[in-house]
Symmetry: C2
Subunit: 112 residues, 2 copies
Amino acid sequence: MEMIKRFYMGAMDRLLHPNLKDVSLAAALHALADPLRLEMIQRLSETDCLSSGAACPNDTPKSTISNHFAVLRAAGLVETTADGRERRNRLRRADFDARFPGLLDTVLANRS
Amino acid sequence: MEMIKRFYMGAMDRLLHPNLKDVSLAAALHALADPLRLEMIQRLSETDCLSSGAACPNDTPKSTISNHFAVLRAAGLVETTADGRERRNRLRRADFDARFPGLLDTVLANRS
DNA sequence: ATCTATAGTTCAATGGTTCCGAACTATGGA
DNA sequence: TCCATAGTTCGGAACCATTGAACTATAGAT
């Protein structure tokens, strides 16, 4: 009878936010190179914070949302904090812009 | 004894160049989201045309080069023509800039 | 013409990544 | 305590990327 304690949420490495200096251009572009993630980023850019569910179309599977947010966090694009049973996701605009000047604006502007 | 005629090179669909209006932003970003392809694009941006081999570091496997060029062509970033036994690759700068204004410049500027 | 070297493509195998249902944790409220 | 809701984790299937080996094509030399 083994005792495996699993820590979810705040303690998980998926919730860790990298220093932007450790994010490569290729990794940043990879995070942006997906239609759903672009949609999420667009929505996040329009309000100052959104729950994970609210950042995606209604029919998006939960596990898919969770994975996409992990990618966005790893690229330094999104900061996620726990707030009750929801997550509070916000764009790390200043950090990302300082590391990749003009990139986010150009990408958002090019999303027809 | 079957006769399979294979057409290489000029006739192959990998050598086809899309109209930029059919290239999505996500596809363009995907093509840019790779360190080797960024290097290739950088090199292509510095001269007006390069053979496939000359666009990559010396130790890059031939098949890898070939695949990466196929991705760049599919994204409308590169135009390839046959020239003897070499390929003549050039950036489709004007086409790409018209479709995604500022994107290529911003990406190249952010490549430290 | 035939041979040889070179540039690139294609194929196939392997390994990695992504998607998503199912099972789970965590929190808030009846 | 029970239930509903928000999100995470796991595992398998589908998809994608990498690269050696076999191939095509062309240029140049003999």
